[in-house]
Point group: C2
Chain length 150, copies 2
DNA sequence: ATCTTATGTGACATTTAATGTTACATAAGA
DNA sequence: TCTTATGTAACATTAAATGTCACATAAGAT
């Protein structure tokens, strides 16, 4: 499967939007993200439906934040995207009804469930504004000193 | 991406192999797993290289366990498969060098890293024999009572 | 009113990494 | 030497994501 990049891309877009005065058009965001406007509209529509963004048609229109980054946690973004499939690993699902297969699938599913819980727990703890702060820190350290980079 | 089923499939195969007297041929395993012999050989070769299985050519040959299921943890199986890509979610990786993108990627990668740790920690705690025990429990409850199923 | 700039949306192409398939070399028992 | 296996490479298929294109719709600008 091709990797799903929507989460980091949308986060990236939110950071740019927070630094803009007016709305960002799909074309502008597409250039920032290295994709095209249709992909932006398709991807952002979920965030609008979830109440994180507003979209406006016509002259001077585009996409804007409905609330500040301090009030948006990563889990909200993930959910607004429709909770994209997290794993590239799946179950056997041969449909044979073999009880050994079922047992193997159950243990696999259990390990995946623990991973998913950890992932979502982390997303719940982080606000998008924290990413913005890290960006600003990197700006500073990138300008003068390099020795603090890991 | 298409889901990677190797982990649950291999676990399923190990359970069958533990119940067989002699070696299991790739054809036999392929029927049990709902695939074909080449896939079995390709998949099992990693477990042989990792010292979990032995493969023998010619008459009476096939695949056998090199050690009992009690001594094989799920993490060993996962590693023997070459640690298949766990996530369907990836980073932006546009290569633009945008620091906002980097910050978004770092936070995404961090959440994925926590998920991966949880996944591997769970795999480390479980032996393949435990899956075999669950299979036997399901056999019992499936034979007589159904009321304990969830 | 009409033009221009946007989003909204559906259909289809492309990409990518997995599994599936086929063919044949190689090893070893019968 | 025949038959049964694994070993392996090459290629086909599949699935799910992103990429692309076309056109409808809405709203400010002229």
């Amino acid at each position: 499967m091709r990797a799903d990049n929507r989460l980091p891309r949308v986060l990236h877009a939110l950071l740019h939007m927070a630094e803009m005065k007016g709305p960002a058009t799909s074309s502008q965001l597409a250039k920032m993200l290295g994709t095209n406007p249709s992909v932006v509209r398709r991807t952002m529509s979920g965030l609008r439906d979830a109440g994180l963004l507003i979209s406006v048609k016509g002259h001077g229109g585009g996409w804007s934040l409905k609330k500040p980054l301090e009030e948006i946690s990563l889990i909200e973004v993930y959910e607004a995207l429709g909770q994209p499939q997290l794993f590239a690993i799946g179950l056997s699902q041969s449909g044979s009804g073999c009880l050994m297969e079922k047992a193997a699938d159950q243990f696999t599913a259990n390990a995946l469930a623990k991973a998913s819980s950890a992932f979502q727990a982390e997303l719940r703890e982080v606000k998008v504004s924290e990413i913005a702060h890290q960006f600003k820190n990197q700006l500073e350290s990138g300008a003068g000193r390099k020795q603090h980079q890991i």
